[in-house]
Symmetry: C2
Subunit: 176 residues, 2 copies
């Protein structure tokens, strides 16, 4: 895993990929599948996400205020869906899905070695948690896997249908 | 334009497409390009988005609490970037980019006839506006264009680079 400058984090999340979210609570790591996230600020990178209070991860995130957003390439799609189909209440998902937890630098939840990017996050605003389950996170450390050179991400269209990244285009933009 | 049931709105935004946002203020419509948005609730559909206070649209959105999220297919990509490269302070963007405004049913800002989906929205929470420029919207009415049958969306990776929808895959998911 290689350091990614925090100013580049938005380039990973702005396209809207399905991601994995890891938490650690009372000595146990868990992972869920998540599609409801967006960038809020470039640098330091802020991210908003919705973690339903029906998810086992909700309690861990609210209590520990730490998580890792791990971004899987399309090769992991089947696992990503299976992770979303079961709950950490009943299953050790790292073991069941042969995911390799790797120690993070700034937070307790683990990175996922199989993902091409990992973002260590701390919760910085909880004002919309009770009404909307909406957390605002700051990305405090970011990693990418240089061995995964052109990862394609998946984008959920509902009911297990996904669009995979296809063609790339480049246009003259003044936007970052 | 055809009615879209509100329970299906998340299927349009969850994949993370670049969208256009229209507002209307003091008798003038405007449009901006936006990539920082996410779903917050299925039904009624709630959406969070970040509209920078540097954008001309910010003031209109905060004052009128209404907007339309219009979703363009890849054929509009060049226009979408050009819309993001200029400001409604100086330009009538509907005119400059030959966009066809169509009347919405529940809000004042116009739909964009060239887009394959249009979501009429009202602002329902502003608690995170002053700190993060983050608005929570409720989609009150949704439209799709039946003539655009398999629209491909674009996903911004920064600096004018976009991933276009490629292959579609279907996996067994318990998730909506």
């Amino acid at each position: 895993m290689k350091d990614l400058h925090l100013s580049k984090v938005y380039q990973l999340l702005e396209p809207g990929p399905v991601v994995l979210l890891t938490t650690a609570h009372k000595g146990r790591a868990n992972v869920m599948t998540m599609s409801w996230h967006m960038m809020v600020e470039f640098e330091p990178p802020l991210v908003a996400c919705v973690v339903s209070d029906a998810n086992h991860s909700f309690k861990a995130l609210r209590a520990t205020k730490e998580c890792v957003i791990a971004i899987p390439a399309v090769e992991l799609a089947t696992k990503v869906v299976s992770i979303g189909n079961c709950t950490g209440r009943e299953v050790d998902k790292f073991e069941r899905f042969s995911l390799t937890p790797a120690p993070a630098e700034r937070v307790a939840p683990p990175l996922i070695a199989e993902c091409f990017a990992n973002l260590e996050c701390k919760v910085v605003d909880t004002r919309l948690v009770s009404k909307f389950n909406l957390f605002v996170l700051e990305v405090v450390k970011a990693w990418t896997d240089p061995a995964q050179r052109h990862p394609k991400t998946i984008h959920h269209r509902g009911n297990g249908k996904f669009a995979v990244d296809g063609e790339f285009i480049k246009l003259k933009s003044k936007m970052p």
